[in-house]
């Protein structure tokens, strides 16, 4: 490991010891979030908690960005680039999870609660005596809503009511200009994968499109006059059966995922289902793979309607873009991760290693340098009932330190490293291009079967 200048080492040591000093405070805040799970754009209590914690730290911030989002600032004494440190506020919905809300089924089965602890922890570290005085630039502390792209019907309603433009937290932050003053961003996600060791960096994630689909039939008495009805559930069944038949045409290397849920499968067993709602997801490694799989999804949905003589309304909602890690930022993070946990506890994934899932950090990564490493600390399956954080040291404290140390590397020394990151990076698109692309991917069609 390259020896660092003594002054930077001292800054990092100060940050680490400040974080250690607030260890219990951070973990307690994290567990409070765990026990108050709220799905995307509904993180009212979580948002209030984050706001209170930032206020306790004396950090000024805005609330209510994209409904529940928060953005605070730490300013170095001199001007310079702005680095976002991000935590996600939303929970999943996994009924049966030990920490699930008994009514809503909302549960932190993806570890986002830890991200808020890390973000606050990074703030604690950077507020340590003398640190900000040595930095040129700012840190944007962000608590973002709605990373999990769920409750599509609910969010589609928010969009229709003009409360949302794009339907995930980072997408909407970008649209609202909340990232306009940010130059680069980082966040750390928890993981239970044993291969991840303590930290992992690199790899990519799938992009995706979101399908909001409604099969429209005609209700009739399911016992006495099924011949007068048009069964929308049968249309959906035919469509899903057909969808499975597409799988052999999906290339392994495209990592395509076609999956979904029926959010309404009928209203009464003795009435022919006339309104069946499917929330689907089309994921893939490349825009071409996603477009191909989406075309196949659509023709299956239409075929379901055609077969039964039903109608199908297909709304295709722009989802996430594949993740692009900034190499320079990744180097900075790796250096600090090794300092914290040792080289043997770090995994570096090749850039073509795609996780099947998706994140809206991928969207951000198309307009600025971004990293999205993973930290251990959890057990079980991501998004499963058994996903639990059992090592808060690794799930909150170490990643908080790592991010604070990265910020110090980037903004110390007149922000020379941040300047290097920016000079080496070439984002794929501007914010305007990104927004135009996403709006262009939003399509609606009503197919009348027969």
């Amino acid at each position: 490991m390259q020896e660092q200048p003594a002054d930077i080492q001292a800054l990092k040591a100060a940050a680490q010891s400040a974080i250690d000093g607030r260890r219990d405070w951070l973990i307690s805040a994290t567990k409070t979030v765990l026990l108050n799970p709220e799905p995307g754009f509904q993180e009212v209590n979580t948002s209030r908690l984050v706001s209170e914690k930032l206020s306790e730290l004396g950090i000024s911030h805005e609330s209510g960005i994209a409904l529940t989002g928060i953005k605070g600032y730490l300013r170095g004494v001199r001007g310079g680039p702005t680095i976002a440190v991000i935590g996600e506020m939303d929970s999943l919905k996994v009924p049966g999870h030990p920490h699930a809300d008994p009514e809503s089924g909302a549960a932190h089965a993806c570890g986002h609660h830890c991200q808020l602890g890390m973000m606050l922890g990074a703030a604690v570290g950077l507020r340590a005596s003398g640190v900000l005085a040595a930095l040129s630039g700012s840190v944007a502390l962000m608590a973002l809503p709605a990373e999990e792209f769920i409750d599509v019907e609910y969010r589609w309603g928010l969009r229709r009511d003009g409360k949302l433009g794009l339907m995930s937290g980072k997408q909407e932050f970008i649209r609202l200009g909340a990232f306009d003053d940010v130059d680069m961003a980082m966040m750390v996600h928890t993981s239970a994968s044993p291969g991840e060791k303590k930290f992992s960096v690199g790899g990519s994630s799938n992009g995706h499109l979101v399908k909001y689909v409604r099969f429209i039939g005609k209700a009739s008495h399911a016992g006495s006059s099924p011949h007068l009805g048009t069964n929308a559930l049968q249309a959906a069944m035919v469509a899903l059966n057909a969808l499975n038949a597409q799988r052999e045409t999906l290339k392994n290397e495209d990592n395509v995922r076609l999956h979904g849920i029926l959010t309404s499968g009928g209203t009464a067993a003795n009435s022919t289902p006339a309104d069946v709602v499917y929330e689907g997801r089309v994921r893939g490694r490349t825009p071409e793979a996603i477009a191909d799989a989406n075309m196949k999804m659509d023709r299956c949905l239409r075929a379901g309607a055609l077969a039964i003589g039903a109608k199908v309304s297909i709304v295709t909602i722009p989802g996430y873009l594949p993740m692009l890690h900034d190499e320079t930022l990744m180097d900075v993070f790796m250096g600090n991760a090794v300092r914290l946990v040792g080289k043997s506890n770090l995994v570096v994934h090749p850039s073509d290693r795609t996780r099947g899932g998706s994140t809206d950090m991928g969207d951000l990564s198309h307009i600025m340098p971004v990293i999205h490493p993973y930290t251990g600390g959890a057990t079980g399956m991501g998004h499963g009932v058994d996903y639990l954080v059992d090592d808060y040291e690794q799930a909150v404290i170490n990643p908080a330190k790592a991010m604070a140390m990265c910020v110090i590397d980037l903004l110390a020394d007149g922000a020379a490293k941040a300047a290097e990151v920016l000079s080496r990076s070439s984002p794929r698109m501007t914010r305007q291009q990104y927004l135009a692309m996403q709006e262009g991917r939003l399509t609606q069609e009503l197919y009348e079967g027969d």
């Binding site: 059966n241 057909a242 023709r299 299956c300 039964i308």
Partner: protein, 463 residues
């Protein structure tokens, strides 16, 4: 109703001798005695046909056998009508109605049937061999001395091809080659005019005794049907190396089948819809994405309206299969059979004779049957009956359907029909004329042909 002018075409029977007219009872007694005396010939014919099973429009050997028997018995006849069909004629002493007695030539194809052809699996798993035996039984009985001379009118003896509507692809190819227009034997005989000089018709079908309490059943109705020849077209590709370049026609068929099943809840019970496809080609090599998958199906139902509605649902399910995989489907809808309606007046005469043979309790009314027969077509334009004799065991069209009782399955059945012919044509054909005058045919031959031709449809669907 316009009084029919009966034609006098040649036929054996009345030779101009001046025998005294016999009463109906005397005539029937002669007929029954003759069938008892010569019945062995009819049973032999039935058993010979059992051993040479041939599916429809391929009944070459069976047709030759029937022709030889017509020649042996000195019955004038035509051959090769609708490829393999035959029509013999017995003429009465005076003019009168022409009554057809029909037997069917064709076998089914049922693998594993004890009498199946080892090469083709053709098998008489529906008892048609007995029908030819019965038809000859009737002929033998009516050829008893003095009988035909006493009758007014004629008896047309039909060996009709292709009642089982199978091998649709083969037959549709015959159609495309101009060798047939309709894929069922009686429809084709009708089209060719073979029934133009026939006024009414009867045939008797064997039936498994397990499904009847009596031994003779009458009055059943049958489903009508349309048939479909279906071809899903995809794109071949290496199924291992590059399935993403292929378009899987078998998946299209599979989705379509699933979609057809999803329609079933919309079929009304009273319409007795049956949709039962088979896949006749499901791909050619397992390592190649199937690009040419063929299916055949019937769409059966109790009324032509119900059939049309179900047929439309099947078509949209087939299109959906093609749409889902991005392939195409060609659906050829072929007119099949019309629902049967038997003549109450003819049935009444028949029941009296049947009761005389098997007793009061031996004859039972039969319910609606969800199978189909091209006697249904004939029933749309003339009075017909299509009774059943419980001479078989096992499931019809199954590997275990075997005729056990040839006395009943050939001879009793022949007797009941021959006696009914005597009733119709004795006494100057009075009762035959009565049946005709009471009958209101649903359609004329011209209307029938136009209805059938209107059912033809061929579409290729590709999104």
């Amino acid at each position: 109703m316009v009084e029919r002018v009966f034609s006098t075409l040649p036929g054996v029977g009345y030779q101009g001798s001046a025998m005294p007219a016999m009463t109906v009872e005397e005539l029937k007694a002669s007929v029954l005695a003759e069938i008892d005396r010569r019945g062995g010939e009819a049973v032999r014919i039935a058993k010979q046909i059992l051993d040479t099973p041939e599916p429809g429009f391929r009944e070459q050997k069976t047709s030759r056998l029937v022709a030889e028997e017509f020649r042996r018995l000195g019955i004038p006849h035509e051959e090769g009508i609708a490829i393999t069909g035959l029509k013999g004629m017995l003429a009465g002493g005076t003019d009168g109605p022409t009554v057809a007695v029909i037997g069917e030539l064709d076998s089914l194809i049922v693998q594993g049937h004890p009498h199946a052809d080892p090469q083709t699996s053709a098998a008489h798993a529906c008892g048609h061999h007995c029908q030819i035996g019965m038809m000859f039984g009737v002929a033998l009985g009516l050829m008893a001395p003095g009988v035909m001379e006493s009758l007014a009118g004629r008896v047309a003896l039909f060996a009709a091809p292709a009642e089982e509507y199978i091998e649709i692809e083969y037959r549709d190819d015959l159609r495309r080659e101009g060798k047939i227009e309709f894929l069922g034997g009686k429809a084709e005989l009708l089209r060719l005019g073979a029934f133009d000089d026939v006024d009414m018709a009867m045939m008797t079908h064997t039936q498994s005794g397990e499904s009847m309490s009596g031994v003779i059943g009458t009055g059943a109705t049958n489903n009508g049907m349309v048939a479909k020849r279906i071809m899903f077209t995809g794109r071949a590709a290496h199924a291992g190396g590059s399935p993403h370049h292929g378009v899987n026609a078998l998946n299209a068929a599979n989705i379509a089948l699933s979609a057809i099943h999803a329609q079933r809840e919309t079929f009304r019970d009273e319409d007795t819809i049956r949709v039962h496809p088979i896949i006749t080609q499901g791909g050619v090599a397992v390592s190649s994405v199937p690009a040419d998958v063929r299916m055949e199906t019937f769409v059966r139902g109790r009324t032509t309206t119900a059939i049309a509605s179900a047929s439309r649902k099947v078509d949209r399910a087939l299109r959906a299969g093609a749409m889902a995989v991005g392939g195409s489907v060609t659906v050829t809808t072929l007119p099949g059979y019309l629902p049967i309606q038997t003549s109450p007046a003819l049935t009444h005469l028949y029941i009296d004779n049947a009761r005389g043979l098997v007793g009061e309790d031996g004859v039972e009314p039969m319910p609606h049957r969800s199978g189909s027969t091209d006697m249904g077509d004939l029933s749309q334009i003339m009075p017909v009956i299509h009774p059943y004799v419980a001479a078989a065991t096992g499931y019809a069209h199954g590997a275990d359907y075997v005729v056990k009782d040839y006395d009943l399955g050939v001879l009793t059945a022949a007797k009941a029909m021959a006696m009914t012919v005597v009733d119709l044509l004795a006494g100057g054909g009075r009762r035959g004329r009565e049946v005709l005058s009471k009958h209101r045919a649903p359609m004329t031959k011209k209307e029938y042909l136009s209805l059938m031709r209107g059912m033809f449809n061929e579409e290729t669907f590709q999104e």
